[in-house]
């Protein structure tokens, strides 16, 4: 049986590989293959997969990529992820991709879609909008049509039709992947000492660059290995972290929170992997099913509009409760509109439910972790002190 260490070593290599060697190799393995990049927060990867293409998650350059050109494109008061993503593009690291999707998340990624169109006019670049109206006959009709357009765009790139059968198969493959991620999170909920969040993070990151089938196998292997391996149980508190749904935290930041005495039992990493909260049905019209799943069974994050005041922030309270969380750490990228504008609202809701929280900011290339470790440590201590009283 493969060990968790072996699996995580592989994930780490994938994570550090800014040349996307695995995705390049996939593309070169057979003629006529295509790779479509996508940014946070959600795209229906099923459609890309059904076109026989590899969906490739692009999450910026992290703390490993030296940004040389990217800074010339952005003012100092704009977050990091667009500049390191531009860096990836201008330094040729994405030259093997055949297109890029920019989902509706904020104005920075929205505007990046246009920059991409200006910079790489020969390549497919689409701003992928999703409805903020959740009625079937309003937002639903709009979204289904958007899905059709995306499908047609991809057909043009690949030169072949995507059938409903192709779509159903891909939906099934992604249903399985989402179920496995749920299992992984469930294992972490039950035994967080067996499933450190640094490892969960790396496993999800691997899912950004690997074919989904391979990633599902990796998740199965990890769950099996982690369930059987012995790891020491510590006297840590249980924390939910929020705000990392777009620009990525340095891996050291997650490690620092864990080392400060926190088991992370809830997070908002790479929501594309679990945006749809239930299996998408396989019978019926597949695009309609994807649309319905988006409208009625999808996650909540700060980039989404909440229709009713009484529902605002409840997802976070539920996340805390469901996972036995004792507090929330808001850790958001500097200058991130969705995370930072939403934060006071979420904090108010937590306050009303008696959930303690702290907040700090990061950048994908933050190096200094000592202050973060100290803050998280003090927070963990205060939670322990509370629970002992």
């Amino acid at each position: 049986m493969t060990t968790t260490k072996e699996i995580i070593d592989r994930c780490e290599k994938l994570y550090e590989d800014m040349d996307f060697t695995a995705a390049r190799a996939w593309k070169e393995a057979a003629p006529g293959r295509h790779v479509i990049g996508y940014m946070p927060i959600y795209v229906p990867r099923e459609i890309i997969h059904a076109a026989g293409m590899l969906p490739l998650g692009i999450l910026g350059g992290g703390d490993q990529l030296e940004v040389i050109h990217g800074d010339a494109y952005y003012q100092s008061y704009i977050c990091r992820i667009p500049r390191s993503t531009i860096e990836l593009a201008v330094s040729g690291k994405l030259d093997f991709t055949d297109g890029m999707l920019f989902p509706s998340i904020c104005d920075v990624i929205r505007n990046l879609s246009g920059m991409w169109q200006l910079m790489m006019s020969d390549k497919y670049a689409r701003y992928f909008d999703v409805p903020q109206n959740y009625q079937d006959d309003v937002g639903g009709v709009y979204y289904t049509q958007e899905l059709h357009e995306l499908k047609e765009d991809l057909e043009k790139i690949s030169g072949r039709k995507i059938t409903n059968e192709d779509l159903r198969k891909s939906i099934a493959v992604y249903n399985e992947n989402r179920r496995l991620i749920k299992d992984l999170y469930e294992l972490r909920r039950k035994a967080p000492w067996k499933v450190p969040t640094t490892e969960v993070y790396l496993l999800l990151r691997a899912g950004m660059v690997l074919p989904v089938e391979e990633h599902s196998q990796m998740l199965k292997d990890y769950i099996e290995a982690a369930s059987t391996e012995d790891r020491p149980l510590r006297d840590n508190c249980r924390i939910v972290i929020q705000g990392m749904f777009c620009e990525q935290p340095p891996l050291n930041l997650i490690k620092s929170i864990e080392l400060a005495g926190c088991y992370i039992v809830g997070d908002d990493f790479m929501m594309v992997t679990r945006w749809l909260t239930e299996d998408v049905p396989l019978d019926g019209d597949p695009l309609e099913n994807l649309s319905q799943a988006f409208l009625h069974h999808s996650e909540n994050v700060s980039a989404k509009y909440v229709d009713r005041e009484e529902d605002k922030g409840i997802y976070l309270v539920d996340l805390v409760k469901k996972n036995g969380g004792e507090g929330v750490i808001f850790t958001s990228p500097s200058f991130c509109d969705p995370a930072l504008l939403d934060r006071p609202l979420l904090q108010d809701v937590l306050k009303a439910h008696g959930v303690p929280y702290i907040a700090f900011k990061y950048a994908e290339n933050s190096g200094q972790m000592q202050p973060i470790r100290e803050q998280a440590g003090t927070f963990a201590d205060s939670i322990k002190l509370w629970s002992e009283q």
């Binding site: 704009i78 505007n111 920059m115």
Partner: protein, 433 residues
Amino acid sequence: MTAPTPTAAKPTVQKDRSMAMQKAMVDGNYARLARAEAERRKVAYTFVPGNINELLMCFDLVVNYPEINAIQNGMRKKSGRYIMEAEKAGHSEDVCTYVKADIGMMLKGNIGPNDERLPNPDVLMLSYTGCFTFMKWFELLRHHYKCETTMLHVPYEGGSGFSKNSRDYVVKQLKETVIPTLERVSGVKFDIDRLREYLKESQKAEENWVWVLESAKHKPSPIDSYFGAIYYISPIFTAFRGTPTATEYYAELRKEVEQRIANGQGPITPEGEMKNEKYRLVVEGPPNYTSFRDFWKMFYDEGAVIVASSYAKVGGTYDFGFRHDPDHPLESVAEYCLNCYTNHNLPERVRMLETYVNEYQADGLLINSIKSCNSFAAGQLMMMKEVQKRTGKPGAFIETDLVDPRYFSPANVKNRLESYFQMIDQKRRATAA
């Protein structure tokens, strides 16, 4: 972003009739807001870009524009305190200062720029067009006021032009969510013929407004299309579009501008007519309001006039052909929302700016990048390079903020502008040689 309704920095030397009309309109709306509760009028809050003013009028709502309050408070030097108030209450230093100026004002009792208390909203009309911040802004206000909120999601124009799908989606939201909510809140039944009447007025005003904008193609330009336009846009971008008063205002403004052209006059500034037009610029991005007059002065002192600006299009890109259409009322309201400047993608924004530089015979493009506004700012450096490349005219980049006085550094801005003017001079000499 916005569109303003300033009265504080009003020109003091030469006063045209249009100026008095504009001021009366702005003051009138604040007075209506102040009386709303006593008169039991229902109040809507909404945003400038993609506003559905004509539709709101169909429900007899009194309309408050929080962006305008932020601007007014910026000009009256009150916004700095409000922003700090909001930051003290836990709002991040990194986010849009309009939101914080508004929330700070709300926390301090919601005393409006005219020193009277603004009424609480009965409905928040969240026209979600061209800026992500809007969505969170009204979630924040809703959290405070616990009032009805209705969202109109206007899809971004990610490609060239909007799709039929987007337009149909907006129309459906109007029919199925927005109108029923406004009917319920106001108790007034929707009458499409009433909407048509308002749209007829809008169309008339829009015709004259475009004429005024295009008058800047004359040399010398009779108007300043950025600083001066701040005053001109306020009726059409806010609570007056669709009213006969606004129609009359734009007809009057047009007459005055016609006269200025006939007299060979330049634009009016706070210190009188600008006599010697030396530089013609296109500006991208909103202005700074906390030092509005000082900022403007840096231009007219040097003989620089702004002949076209993207900011004067945040409430509608009429000069590229859009008009409200009474024969297709809801469809044209939807198209209006889709067509606001920041709802266009970057290639389209570049194309507009390039057109301005060429058609208005400008010396180049100046970008005023606003620290707190990602909607405008993200990508502006690339836009500048692209417009420079396409037009062969030099560009320049300055950084300020809309209403946060901490981010307006007069010495820096002035230095940058001086170098820019020198660069234009050099370029002219080189071309002449």
